[in-house]
């Protein structure tokens, strides 16, 4: 057999990476839904799904079959092309941004970094850009379904996402200043010197930025306590009122995929990404394979902790009022993020 050319190797390995990461992400989305239903159930003193499979573990499969087999309704007065394309935009944007996330230590196999689909040197900006494109999915879905509740929900969602995007972007500047790079790999490696002590949230004194990021990210993903766009008691279901079957499922998956992306970014920027919290305290054990898998385990563990925090917050906090939401975003979070940038850059300039 002839050896493959470098380009062909790169292509094949890239396709393999994309397929594996996509499958894992979609499975993670399905099981995040189950996790949320289980944990929320226990918080409210009930069982959650427990009938399908052991401990209800096959529930996502049953949900998927149910959604596939449901009738795909198409409202008569809707804008047909936009109505169809809106959930596609939402889901595609939420899945694409996972591509720049490095989820393990650098491992080169035949010149290809196998634990990162695309190592872009402006990875952070790519994530922000794709998030800002994702707004279109929600805005168009509400407008094209020609329904008052859907329109109100999508207007709320759009204005909320535009407002909180500013605070979100500004809260990340402190981290970028410390790492002096927009590449996610560089940001991770800037925190890997002394384990947990050099993570941005502890050693970097970026806990203010972390707080701002967390709140803004909850608002960006339209999750409780900022879930006004889909407030059931006021708006039926918000922007996806008119959607059924797989189109509804696509919005649902987009929401959970966004949660996962946001958790990944929080892990990478503030919690050292795939690096171990013990740094070099624990000697390297096992072989090369164990050492390659261990960072991925740390990464998954941190992301899982963030997902649990999401669910915990949803089970605990009541919903904001609309004017409170806007006031909080513009008058509290934005100034805090700016002050954080000024203080961080002053400290960095004085130290240099």
């Amino acid at each position: 057999m002839r050896p493959l050319t470098p380009f062909l190797t790169f292509l094949l390995l890239s396709i393999l990476k994309i397929v594996v990461v996509l499958v894992i992400t979609l499975t993670a989305v399905a099981y995040t839904v189950l996790l949320e239903r289980k944990v929320l159930g226990r918080m409210q003193n009930r069982w959650g799904p427990s009938r399908v499979g052991p401990f209800g573990l096959l529930q996502p499969l049953a949900d998927g079959i149910k959604l596939f087999l449901k009738e795909d309704l198409m409202p008569l007065a809707s804008e047909r092309p936009l109505f169809i394309i809106a959930p596609i935009i939402a889901l595609a944007c939420s899945l694409v941004s996972i591509a720049v996330v490095p989820f393990g230590a650098i491992q080169n196999v035949k010149g290809v970094d196998i634990f990162n689909v695309a190592n872009v040197n402006i990875g952070l900006l790519v994530i922000l850009g794709i998030t800002s494109i994702g707004v279109y999915g929600i805005a168009l879905s509400g407008w094209s379904s020609n329904n008052k509740f859907a329109l109100l929900g999508s207007l709320r969602a759009t204005s909320q996402m535009i407002s909180y995007e500013l605070a979100l972007g500004l809260s990340l500047v402190g981290v970028v200043l410390r790492a002096q790079s927009l590449s996610l790999r560089d940001i991770v490696s800037s925190q890997s010197a002394h384990g947990a002590l050099s993570w941005n949230i502890f050693g970097g004194f970026q806990f203010v930025a972390f707080f701002v990021y967390l709140v803004a990210a909850y608002a960006e993903t339209n999750r409780s306590p900022f879930d006004l766009p889909e407030a059931e008691s006021e708006l039926v279901a918000g922007y996806h009122t008119e959607y059924s079957s797989m189109k509804f499922a696509m919005f649902f998956m987009a929401e959970y995929a966004n949660m996962i992306t946001v958790s990944c970014v929080a892990t990478l920027l503030f919690f050292g990404g795939p690096s171990s919290p013990f740094g070099h305290l624990i000697p390297a054990f096992g072989g090369a394979i164990v050492q390659a898998i261990l960072p991925i385990l740390w990464f998954v563990l941190k992301v899982l902790a963030f997902l649990l925090l999401y669910i915990w917050v949803r089970g605990t906090l009541p919903r904001f009022r609309y004017d409170q939401l806007m006031g909080f975003g513009w008058k509290v979070l934005l100034p805090i993020a700016m002050v954080n940038i000024i203080v961080t850059s002053l400290v960095l300039a004085l130290r240099a």
Binding site: L82, L128, T131, S132, V135, L140, G142
Partner: protein, 168 residues
């Protein structure tokens, strides 16, 4: 590879721009403009200006066009009525557009030596970080225009606040 990307997205940009003019509904026009912006971003990226591409996506398609779509949704603008158009537009418009096209292509073709040729993807192959280059130019050579622009934007924001404030 880069040539294929250039051809696809250049064609997409032109098609989006034509669609913008031909669509009757304002929201479709706004969305075609988004397509144009995104394909321009890809073109910037294929020329090696990745920061410019990201800024294009975040600022133009992510913020400004979202506001456009938002306003169109809020006002619920209907389909525009087809008029025959003013005669002056036809008389002045087509020759004017043709003249500008000829002038630009003449300048680019005759001055191609002085302008230099674009190197498709050439900047991508060696690892220059153009964010640090842009920022160092922006904060040293071009500091005055940069600050003047930010004051201009500040004035615009203040104007918007004054207009939006309710009368007491």
């Amino acid at each position: 590879m880069q040539l294929a990307l250039f051809l696809i997205f250049g064609g997409l940009a032109v098609a989006g721009a034509l669609n913008l003019l031909l669509q009757k509904h304002p929201i479709n026009s706004a969305l075609s403009l988004v397509v144009v912006m995104m394909s321009l971003a890809v073109l910037y990226w294929s020329l090696g200006a990745e920061f410019l591409a990201a800024a294009q996506v975040i600022v133009y398609s992510g913020a400004i066009m979202v506001l456009f779509v938002f306003v169109i949704m809020l006002l619920n603008a209907g389909e525009e009525e087809r008029t025959t158009g003013s005669r002056a537009a036809y008389i002045a418009g087509f020759p004017g557009a043709a003249a500008i096209f000829c002038l630009l292509s003449f300048v680019f073709l005759s001055e191609s030596k002085a302008l230099g040729l674009a190197n498709l993807g050439g900047q991508l192959s060696h690892a220059t970080n153009n964010i640090s280059e842009i920022s160092s130019v922006l904060f040293t050579k071009l500091l005055l225009p940069f600050e003047v622009t930010s004051i201009l934007i500040l004035v615009a924001i203040l104007g918007a606040v004054v207009l939006a404030r309710k009368e007491q």
